[in-house]
């Protein structure tokens, strides 16, 4: 990923592939919605997946061709690439409950 990328790796890496979370956050520039979404996502990951996640932020303003691959329509969108299956959450992630359900994090707990 050449995009502006935020990496958060835990200090005690658990190398099981299932445990490694790969998230993509699609935004279009630094809009309030995008910033809120990023903050919400980060907060959630920190509390639930500390050390085993990676968030890739993709700015479609700079890389519009990437929108097609993940069928992005809504902004912001979070796509969980790993673990499988792929999950998609749209919105600024202000409703934590929905995000947790959407990312299967309730079950992961």
């Amino acid at each position: 990923m050449k995009a502006k990328t935020a990496r958060r790796r835990g200090s005690a890496p658990l190398r099981k592939p299932d445990d490694h979370w790969q998230l993509r956050l699609y935004v279009t520039g630094q809009t309030p919605k995008s910033l809120t979404a990023f903050a919400n996502l980060k907060k959630m990951c920190e509390s639930r997946l500390k050390g085993r996640y990676r968030i890739t932020v993709i700015d479609l303003m700079k890389q519009p061709h990437l929108a097609k691959g993940d069928q992005i329509l809504a902004i912001p969108t979070v796509v969980r690439k790993l673990p499988k299956p792929v999950r998609t959450i749209i919105g600024n992630l202000s409703d934590t409950e929905h995000v947790l359900v959407g990312l299967d994090l309730q079950a992961a707990d």
């Binding site: 809504a74 902004i75 912001p76 919105g91």
Partner: protein, 585 residues
């Protein structure tokens, strides 16, 4: 962007148009869709929305050099390509040459979780990217409404759609947005609320087991447009809309006349036959010889070296050829020489529009100067009355525009020669011949007359129409006290009249002889009288002479006697005579 190439004469303020290249649609809309604005195409399932949108893009790219973006919400790129390939659209090739970009947008609702606020900026980004990547001027969104099923928040969606249409206008692309037909409104989700420049409604109806698609321009801001429902069909060259009055009444007119193949009929039509490029209706009850007249006309045209296209909806070509041979009309050499072509089809084979389309295609391929449709009434069974009238109008328009002389035969039922539908159809026709059966005297005879022939002095007489193994002949029919006499009655009347003529001739001769005799008698009488008169005159003269002589003798006598008596005075001779009457003798 005003199109100067088109020679329409509307006011200078006309909206710039974006030609679709779809046959007929540009005529209805007066040049195409509004350029730089979105157009809504709505209709139920299977109406051809996607096809219309695709054709708009493909023709734009191939014919008008305008690249286009197809944003598909329902079908994948591969499906789209395969679907339109059967219509001869090389979508894949255009995509390869970067004339068309296809973006398949798909969201599975079950895989999407909503949390908090969002917008559809992603859609805008994708569309913008696709447009910019190929420099597109045209955009299709097919079917945008699929988003309503994919995205749970309708309020956001509506707000974003409004923004999308605004954005498309700002972008300056000509967009076609397809939508499903709604129950009480034009579209299921009320998209017409956002797209207000041009709305086209497609419809697919089944009438008497025959399905016909219709197109109607519901609204077109700032432009005059045909508001009627126009039938359209999807053929192997895409959509063709068939506007009823596509050409108006401004055909080129020829004053050239062409023979009918029946000399006496030519004579009835001012002596020189039909006008070239006119439309002729030939009505008749069953078995009155319509096809024969048509075949004669065809043969006459072929003999002049003109190509003739014979649409037969009742008989197969071979049957017509065989039957015509029985009256001495050989058509097969003309077929072999390529001057005459038959096109036979059962009327119920397909709908009226499809018939019309195939006929148009045949006409375009063969380029005939004469077209015969035998009979047009068979086609009428394939549609409703008004549809048929529309179809005939279009056909007449089309053929007239090409200066093609057309003969329509029309079958009427029973004894009534004039049916309602014929009367309606006849107003489109320039000439109208009527073939009729007359029954009487235990026989059935055919008569022909010219009901109307625009622009020429034509005979008002009923002619008997004879079919023999040497062909057709028209003979004068006798008008008797009981109407027109035909067949043996005509022959009998002929004999009767001949006898009468002979009798009157004999009578005249007799009278002449009588008169002569009288003249001779009178002359004889005159000469008798004259001789009598002459006799008397002669006698009178003799008497006169005698009297003169006697008077002279008397005078002389008296003078002598006076001399003798020595008369002193002269005596008046009268007085002197009286006393001596006895001296006479």
């Amino acid at each position: 962007m005003r199109n100067n190439g088109h020679t329409h004469s509307p006011p200078a303020t006309q909206l710039p148009k974006c030609p679709t290249g779809i046959q007929g649609l540009d005529e209805i809309t007066g040049g195409g869709l509004p350029r730089g604005r979105p157009t809504l195409v709505c209709g139920g399932a299977g109406c051809g929305k996607t096809l219309l949108a695709t054709e708009f893009l493909v023709r734009g790219a191939a014919q008008f050099g305008e690249a286009g973006v197809f944003m598909a919400f329902e079908e994948t790129e591969a499906e789209l390509k395969a679907n339109v390939a059967s219509l001869g659209f090389d979508l894949a090739g255009l995509v390869r040459r970067k004339k068309i970009a296809i973006d398949y947008v798909h969201i599975e609702r079950s895989e999407v979780q909503e949390s908090g606020e969002y917008d559809l900026e992603g859609l805008f980004v994708r569309l913008n990217h696709a447009i910019d990547s190929i420099g597109a001027k045209r955009v299709v969104l097919d079917t945008l409404e699929a988003l309503f099923a994919s995205l749970p928040n309708e309020a956001i969606l509506r707000a974003e759609l409004r923004r999308l249409f605004r954005w498309l206008k700002d972008k300056g692309v000509t967009a076609v947005i397809t939508a499903e037909r709604g129950r009480e409104q034009l579209t299921r989700h009320g998209l017409e609320e956002y797209v207000s420049d041009c709305v086209i409604l497609l419809d697919h109806r089944v009438n008497e087991q025959i399905a016909t698609r219709h197109l109607r321009v519901v609204k077109y801001r700032g432009t005059l447009h045909g508001t009627n429902e126009f039938p359209f069909l999807i053929g192997d060259e895409g959509i063709s809309v068939l506007p009823i009055t596509s050409l108006g009444l401004n055909h080129k007119i020829s004053s050239e006349r062409i023979a009918t193949g029946i000399p006496r009929l030519d004579a009835m039509l001012g002596g020189r036959g039909f006008f070239r490029g006119s439309s002729i209706l030939l009505t008749g009850t069953p078995g009155t010889g319509k096809t024969i007249v048509a075949a004669n006309f065809a043969q006459a045209a072929c003999k002049r070296g003109e190509r003739t296209l014979f649409f037969s909806f009742e008989e197969s070509p071979n049957q017509i050829i065989r039957n015509m041979q029985s009256i001495g009309l050989r058509l097969d050499p003309l077929v072999k020489r390529g001057l005459l072509r038959f096109h036979a089809a059962r009327p119920s084979l397909y709908g009226l529009e499809m018939h019309l389309a195939t006929m148009f295609k045949e006409i375009v391929n063969f380029q005939p100067q004469v077209v015969i449709i035998d009979p047009i009434t068979s086609l009428m069974d394939a549609g409703t009355d008004s549809e048929c009238r529309g179809m005939v109008t279009r056909l007449v328009d089309y053929l007239k525009a090409g200066q093609v002389t057309t003969l329509f035969t029309s079958l009427t039922q029973g004894g009534h020669a004039l049916q309602q539908s014929e009367a309606a159809m006849s107003s489109l026709m320039d000439s109208w011949l009527l073939l009729q059966d007359l029954e009487g005297n235990g026989e059935r005879n055919r008569v022909l007359y010219v009901l109307k022939a625009r622009g020429m002095a034509h005979s008002n007489q009923v002619r008997e129409f004879l079919i023999s193994n040497r062909g057709i002949d028209l003979v004068d029919a006798y008008i008797g006290p009981n109407g027109v006499l035909t067949g043996s009655a005509r022959a009998a009347q002929g004999a009767l009249e001949k006898a009468a003529v002979l009798a009157s001739q004999q009578e005249a001769a007799r009278r002449t002889r009588e008169l002569e005799r009288k003249r001779v008698a009178i002359e004889r009488q005159i000469s008798g009288l004259r001789s009598e008169y002459e006799t008397e005159a002669l006698e009178l003269r003799r008497v006169d002479e005698q009297v003169g002589t006697r008077t002279l003798m008397l005078t002389t006598e008296r003078a002598a006697s006076g001399l003798l008596r020595h008369a002193d005075a002269k005596v008046a001779p009268g007085r002197r005579n009286q006393p001596k009457p006895g001296r006479r003798n």
